[in-house]
Symmetry: C2
Subunit: 361 residues, 2 copies
């Protein structure tokens, strides 16, 4: 049975594990609601440290530091999904941790995630468990076409992924992962990509933002656009997929479901991200309650906010050296910079959102 | 000749003097732009201290502390207009201070402000200089009707004001101010109140938000509504009034011009506030660039943002014990709480903005 907690009152403290741009934007949203934040990051000089009165730099598996951190907070959340399971369990002995260990355990692992999605009756790319080079060959044979070998854990922005078009390539790709368990996924020839960013409250309430259409370049999100090309029934279907997933995970907080939109209009679940998501950044300007505020509301046990959209929006990431153009970017839209000291190749330095009058309500 | 400064680059530090809700919302806006903030407040536990990595509690006339603070900042601004003139001059020796000493000197004093407005050819209530009880009687005689005696400096939310309907009352009111210089203003029988929140950039650029209509209760702002009842030509006139004032003050930053709207449609300048303003809080949700971001852009020497409005909005203040209803308020709009530990009678604890689809673009 689920433990019920009182909402965290104004003046209470939300602990955020991870001090990158997502932690930073979560802290800014918490502040709007009169909540304090305490940021835990494994390195000093984290972007989120600049926007809070309370922060600590310590390893993510330092159980003593985590316990002291948890004791100083009224609820704890995180900006990334790869926290060690035993660290989460440890935190949860001290303070409500949202989303919970179960949701994280399932979504941290591509095999358990895809199996979970399939069991819900939702569509995904075909996938096969791969724990050896031999299994990689075998899986490629079953697939009967091109595929992508992906490590089961710790992949992001295309890391831990390899396209394979022969059994031999599949085996070699597996070997390049140095024994890390993987899955072989069938290549989906999608028309475009979309995502649903949604929230589930501690009371089971649900709120989904309009799904944006997403463009990637070099495996990194370039652009999210709302409204997308999805039809009204597809938008409803996308939101229902998110609702089904949120309910089945007994999820509390914001999560994103990345979707492939097939040529025939079918929506395939690609990935679930148990956190605020880059494809939801446009909600800061286009909605009265952003994905960041929505997540904090859920984590604090508050009622969810209204996800209605008041404008059309295009969000573009600012990657690596692109940030040098900040002055001209500032002229053209709502510029967000993340307070990172150094720009590096492929590093997300900020984003810019451009609003247009609402065309499709 | 005006000194030109380079824009403060991302990663630079904006110093904010005053750590109340305006300083807090300025700091949150600076963070979006990748700027660090350093908050100076005369008491510890200031609301803005919760949202920055750098803060100091020290008196506003501690020149040594102010100098050290200024040296750690790339530009300095403030959330209130009553900083001592010598403190501002001292800061300005170390760092660009925006808005500058001249704009503050004029707007800190009701007599110099009203004289300045009159010289620009703008309409105001009739006003008279009052430095003695005898002058108060005399001024009342010239006024020929009801008036309001106001101290020239340090008044806000109705403090330092008294309605007077006889020469005797005028003299007594002056005496109650204990010798503080005052002005006697003619009572304006306005149809309603409005305001323009506008910004002037370091490059002379100008941007004005749509003027809201404002309702006060017990001399405290209750509600701001956009669009107001102003006609399109009145909206343009209101923005032009702000532009004229901003240019004449060589102003840099956001300021507000409070207006009385007479029954015949005339716009009378009531007050100039040389800072972000309570009647502009709705811009956080209804515009891509809020008044807080706009002010930080101006202070940092960045290009101004687009003040266009994407939704209709009603902003209501949450005053004193009203904050106890935070849970039900959170269900009905974009709730902002200011992180104040105690609610007191008449104290602004937060505000709530409710958006509606755009009706008058």
């Amino acid at each position: 049975m689920k433990t019920l907690h009182k909402p965290v009152p104004p003046g209470g403290t939300i602990g955020i594990i991870g001090g990158g741009q997502l932690g930073r934007m979560l802290a800014l949203a918490a502040a709007r609601l009169g909540l304090k934040t305490y940021i835990y990051n494994d390195a000093p000089d984290a972007p989120a440290f600049q926007v809070t009165g309370q922060s600590i730099a310590a390893p993510y598996d330092d159980l003593e530091k985590l316990a002291a951190f948890a004791d100083a907070c009224d609820a704890v959340t995180f900006e990334f999904e790869n926290l060690p399971a035993h660290a989460i369990a440890h935190l949860a002995e001290h303070v409500p941790v949202r989303p919970g260990a179960q949701a994280l355990a399932i979504t941290q692992d591509r095999l358990s995630e895809k199996t979970f999605v399939e069991k819900l009756g939702l569509k995904t790319a075909p996938f096969f468990d791969v724990t050896s080079a031999g299994q990689a060959c075998e899986a490629f044979g079953k697939l009967g076409g091109r595929g992508i070998l992906k490590t089961r854990r710790f992949g992001y922005d295309g890391k831990g992924q390899a396209k394979v078009s022969s059994a031999d390539e599949a085996a070699k790709a597996f070997e390049s992962f140095k024994g890390a368990p993987a899955i072989l996924e069938g290549f989906v020839d999608f028309a475009y990509e979309a995502s649903v960013v949604a929230a589930r409250g501690a009371d089971g309430g649900f709120a989904a933002y309009d799904p944006p259409e997403n463009d990637h370049e070099n495996h990194i999100l370039r652009r999210s656009t709302v409204p997308s090309r999805l039809s009204a029934p597809q938008v409803e279907e996308a939101k229902m997929i998110a609702r089904q997933i949120g309910d089945a995970l007994d999820y509390v907080g914001v999560f994103a479901v990345e979707l492939f939109v097939a040529a025939d209009g079918a929506l395939l679940v690609n990935e679930i991200a148990p956190r605020v998501h880059n494809t939801g950044h446009w909600t800061i300007e286009a909605c009265a309650c952003s994905q960041f505020e929505q997540h904090i509301r859920a984590v604090a046990g508050w009622p969810l906010g209204d996800p209605v959209r008041h404008a059309d929006a295009v969000m573009e990431n600012i990657i690596g050296a692109e940030v040098e153009a900040w002055q001209s970017l500032a002229r053209t839209g709502a510029l967000h910079l993340y307070g990172k000291a150094e720009s590096r190749l492929g590093r997300k330095m900020g984003h810019i959102t451009r609003l247009k009058p609402l065309t499709k309500p």
